[in-house]
Symmetry: D3
Subunit: 280 residues, 6 copies
Amino acid sequence: MNTFLLKKEIEHFFQEDMQFGDISADTIFPKDILGNGIIMSKSNGVFSGEAVIETAFQLLDPNIKVILHKKDGESVQSGEIIAEVTGPIRALLTGERTVLNIIQRMSGIATKTREAVQRLQSDKTRICDTRKTTPGFRLFEKYAVTCGGGYNHRQSVNDGVMIKDNHIAFCGSITEAVARTKAQVGPMVKIEVETETIDQVKEAVHAKADIIMFDNRTAEEIAEFQQYVPDTIMTEASGGITLDNLHTYQNSGVDYISLGFLTYGAHALDLSMHVKGGNK
Amino acid sequence: MNTFLLKKEIEHFFQEDMQFGDISADTIFPKDILGNGIIMSKSNGVFSGEAVIETAFQLLDPNIKVILHKKDGESVQSGEIIAEVTGPIRALLTGERTVLNIIQRMSGIATKTREAVQRLQSDKTRICDTRKTTPGFRLFEKYAVTCGGGYNHRQSVNDGVMIKDNHIAFCGSITEAVARTKAQVGPMVKIEVETETIDQVKEAVHAKADIIMFDNRTAEEIAEFQQYVPDTIMTEASGGITLDNLHTYQNSGVDYISLGFLTYGAHALDLSMHVKGGNK
Amino acid sequence: MNTFLLKKEIEHFFQEDMQFGDISADTIFPKDILGNGIIMSKSNGVFSGEAVIETAFQLLDPNIKVILHKKDGESVQSGEIIAEVTGPIRALLTGERTVLNIIQRMSGIATKTREAVQRLQSDKTRICDTRKTTPGFRLFEKYAVTCGGGYNHRQSVNDGVMIKDNHIAFCGSITEAVARTKAQVGPMVKIEVETETIDQVKEAVHAKADIIMFDNRTAEEIAEFQQYVPDTIMTEASGGITLDNLHTYQNSGVDYISLGFLTYGAHALDLSMHVKGGNK
Amino acid sequence: MNTFLLKKEIEHFFQEDMQFGDISADTIFPKDILGNGIIMSKSNGVFSGEAVIETAFQLLDPNIKVILHKKDGESVQSGEIIAEVTGPIRALLTGERTVLNIIQRMSGIATKTREAVQRLQSDKTRICDTRKTTPGFRLFEKYAVTCGGGYNHRQSVNDGVMIKDNHIAFCGSITEAVARTKAQVGPMVKIEVETETIDQVKEAVHAKADIIMFDNRTAEEIAEFQQYVPDTIMTEASGGITLDNLHTYQNSGVDYISLGFLTYGAHALDLSMHVKGGNK
Amino acid sequence: MNTFLLKKEIEHFFQEDMQFGDISADTIFPKDILGNGIIMSKSNGVFSGEAVIETAFQLLDPNIKVILHKKDGESVQSGEIIAEVTGPIRALLTGERTVLNIIQRMSGIATKTREAVQRLQSDKTRICDTRKTTPGFRLFEKYAVTCGGGYNHRQSVNDGVMIKDNHIAFCGSITEAVARTKAQVGPMVKIEVETETIDQVKEAVHAKADIIMFDNRTAEEIAEFQQYVPDTIMTEASGGITLDNLHTYQNSGVDYISLGFLTYGAHALDLSMHVKGGNK
Amino acid sequence: MNTFLLKKEIEHFFQEDMQFGDISADTIFPKDILGNGIIMSKSNGVFSGEAVIETAFQLLDPNIKVILHKKDGESVQSGEIIAEVTGPIRALLTGERTVLNIIQRMSGIATKTREAVQRLQSDKTRICDTRKTTPGFRLFEKYAVTCGGGYNHRQSVNDGVMIKDNHIAFCGSITEAVARTKAQVGPMVKIEVETETIDQVKEAVHAKADIIMFDNRTAEEIAEFQQYVPDTIMTEASGGITLDNLHTYQNSGVDYISLGFLTYGAHALDLSMHVKGGNK
């Protein structure tokens, strides 16, 4: 994660949680008391958030030292230590909740993504995310997906073109919609077309879409659709795919399976931070 | 929800999703084409997000009209319409994903909260949230909890004092920790003390804490602890409480049960928006 | 003071005072010239602003060293040195006015608060502030009150409930207003009710308000009202109380006296900064 | 006041006072209840803040109507109505404190400035302010000075050059300091030089300073100094001037008297807002 | 242009130009004086900036009416009227310079782009921009390129992958660099590879780059290189191409020619605004 | 340049260019790989941007070291090294484009200004800029003008009064317009009047304008006008002056010649950055 960007985001989060400071920590502890905190996992999963721990605490106090025991994408077992944080105890306590709120969600998403990847068990097909992220938190969620072995679809709405049913309806055909788009966008923009039938797939191929999405199709349908798509065009399956039926897509041949639930359906991983302290 | 605050937050979210605009919508649709969108539910739950729909689309285009069919806190069934949105189609499409990302999460939290309230089935005991919210999204998550029938615990870390094990350890006793805090905070600040044993409860009562939290206690323990707490002191149960065992706390007599999973464990409610358009 | 929050605020203040830089300092002094500045008091009072001096100058130049001779809340006499600041002279001169503007106001408020505390001479009754602060400057003003020995009332309008005449009028009674509020707010929110008569006080007690405010009452009235309020309910006197009549409230028994003039009526303490320099 | 700038500032102030909304107003009043508020004066003074009242309430709710009874710079007597505000009562109550906090300070400064102008009673000499303003609130304080009949000195540190003792000491002489500055600044920048003796005044005249400041001089000294200054150079008296001795400067001939206390020593004018309401 | 985004950017620009307001306009004109302004061209070129004129003036005063005589991308001749703006004269004068500063630069870029397109005279090859834009002004510059008939290359550094000499050197080969990238990026990201020789082109084709850039190659070299690239891979020529030699690339067969000078080498188009006024 | 202000601006620029990070650099290079970059000139000109290089890269990574070989205002020849930058290669690559975008434009303006100064060849008359800067980039452009030997006219619209034709028309005369302004502005504000005829010049002198601008006048006219202006009033020539006819103004006697093209007509200086790396 880019630490410059990370700082800007985390500054915003700290301002949300403590507009006027942390009255519990500041009331109990004099400002020069030191402490240390152990961040550990209380369940099994995949960790994501190295740079968050380092960056967040040092924003509150540059004297805080962080020792990481786990790397992004590494598995954690319940009871394992993720990081040790040492420094002024006020800053440790003030930052604790926000840091946990971030890394628990990131690790939850990494865990969910890893599970999806393992359920799929495919060398060819990749798992990717969607724009169905929590507003204001996308940088973290998108990164967490990659820690779990997934891939990022569009970062934002200006990152690529998605031609959906309403665009097609307005233009009259996939052919026209793609042509209209190609007439306007530059070389780095990919054009993806949503399809539901073989005819639509053929039309999208003919129109030279960069990616063809199979919308709400079964693994069998996709395997069939896939035959009409040349190697130079990427394919994506989307809609109706769950952890339970993911394995059925193993040999569908599709390039990507996009799963909105990676970001909106992941449970936060149960992490805790124990802070102790008392000496100068 | 306060619309002034809402605008500021949603502006931030839109900037996250479209730094340079929506190339799909802007490429396909000329700027004066009108459209309409139907936001509907694809599952059963509790809706939350009235003001979000109105405020968000009007930020993108003041000419957009919103007709709401559901109110915050109202139950929705799969297939029911939540709102109709009419206006320039570019703005409808550009706003669609961000609005859904917000209201799906809010409705998910409202739904989870409603479920907790119904599982508990208590006239006395209330369900409340924690600070375990998604960073940058707290305003929405805290409000959603109230739509489901829950209550808000601290909005932020400067909203009240929580005296936990590490504060107590540093001060030497609950008595000393409360005294030190009382010596410093003003009249509007409540002091909550975490306890695990009857002796701690008695000490907290004696120290005149405003709220006593029973940390990770069973319903039976709580019912016992509760006897030592006078009416003028609020109590809260926290830790180890799930949807499955919530009913056991029905008659524990505790005032509040705080549930972190309301915000970090809720699934987004499945909502969709269908946009159609094409005429000026 | 939380230095993370402090930085954010002071950045904003510097941007106000020097959108394009300090043309006086930058024109006269080459950038590597060092200097030192002595901040001293030109009148008697109570100092507040340690962290401001350190944080502000280091924002302009991380090489600046600050030696503090006074602590927050310490008395200063005219002629006493508060701090010495050493480093690049441009940054010393550029920061001088903004730093003085902040700490003079903070020290003025600390001084005024100390005076109120001393006039009152009460072991039981505390002095507290209000929300009548300078917009954009509350973090500093609220902290300064504590340096003078006062306490903070609400930090912001979402920090607690104040039930005033117009709320009561709309609800029909104090009883109803408190009940309606209690039905909606969570465990960490205190409810304060404004009262003017014994009947209102009794009603507020009966309604289980957390705090009862005696609005514009004399010390005698308050002493009487106080008898109807149990120990578990805090009381506050507000309105019509001046430095001159504060001593009459000494034995009124009220818990808090809130004084708007602590923040809107304090004179800036006369502090100055003498900067000298010229060597590399 | 420029309403575009005003909005940006007031948005910031509202965010300070209600990070998560106004729980008192929102708990008691349903969102469509209307009300009206009367802003009136409880003391005599000069009003400043027309545009603030209009802009602030409309930020909270565009449906609010404001009728102003007083104009900026107009005298108000205790008991006189300044403005009537009508609209959704939640927004009236939420905005009340922040609006009063702004206009009370502005009116206090306007009142103090008017008093200074009247004490001076001079056709030639003008009263002006300094940069000794409350950080984050300068736009309002500088404007309020003009409402009282005063003038604005520098808006910010990049608005003009002030050559003070430390600049002179570093350069070796006023002549050299002015020359060095003139060699670097453009046509719209004025150069002001602080002087304490006739020799310094003569040197500053010779160096062609745009403004000469007489630092901590009596009215008699100034009258003498003034003789050495040609009409094309402005003069300013600063330091040691109070409301009590201002009249002695009446015939000193100086162009401006700058008074830091206009902004740091003014009391907020006692204004109140009474809100009533209850109907849809 | 997306008006939501436009507002946010222009707010920032106005704050740059008038931290404390427009003293010329505010001093001369009472606030209710109306005026009108004619924006006209003083040279020949291509206009860009419709939405800027509308949005900018309405930010300063919602009562301002704008009538546009030219559309984005339309040619303008010296002496032609681009827009008429009517409303409070203060706002017209305050906004004049900032609006002209924006639309002159945009129109200059549109004009330069149109010229490049016309010099090239190619049905196949498109002109596109680069990231060599003015920091803080990219939204406007990128849009202006499209008004002149050009295309946008990457909007930002997270919009696509560019594999340059230093990436290749680190990885050891183009093959390895592309493979490493493909292993990490998702379906919407294009990978572009810089090449200088036929061997590199062949390697990039073999590695399945999405785009191959011919770096600093003549039209002849490009025509040769192009033969080794299948239709499914886009090509781009970059470096050493000027308005003077653009025509030589007409039949090179390359898909895009990227020209940094569109944004860093365009002169502002000479536009003026004449404001008249005086009546209420 | 003030580094505090610089940081704030450059943070904004980095956020524009990499909302979600630099996928090229982050994909190819592990985060602890070091590199070094050489910034060199590919053409002849005047360098401006020392502080930008230092500040920008250290924002991305505080471990980056910068060695500067050129100072602001120093001439550079094609092939000369400007700076060496060493540190984590990711940060070098991520910052490269934004840093070049800034310093190329600054150096282009410095170069253009130097050329104007040399064409003019005058000891008396100075070259100055205008407010015709790129919105959002003024801090950099104004500073660059001084690096080339030019001077800054108004930094912003609240920096001084410009009385133009429409102000004069509304007031009825220059005399009245100046008088109205003088009645309102304070001591640090200069008043400049635009004139086109000798009569207007005389009137402006009589009205005691601080600066008189000769609008679109030839060198001969200016030489004549200049005779009517006393030494205590500055003069400025503006309009119709180009690099080609600048020498004709050499002996016109005017104090300043303001040239909008310094900022809107300068070409970016051709600078490049070569980054190499690969070791830890």
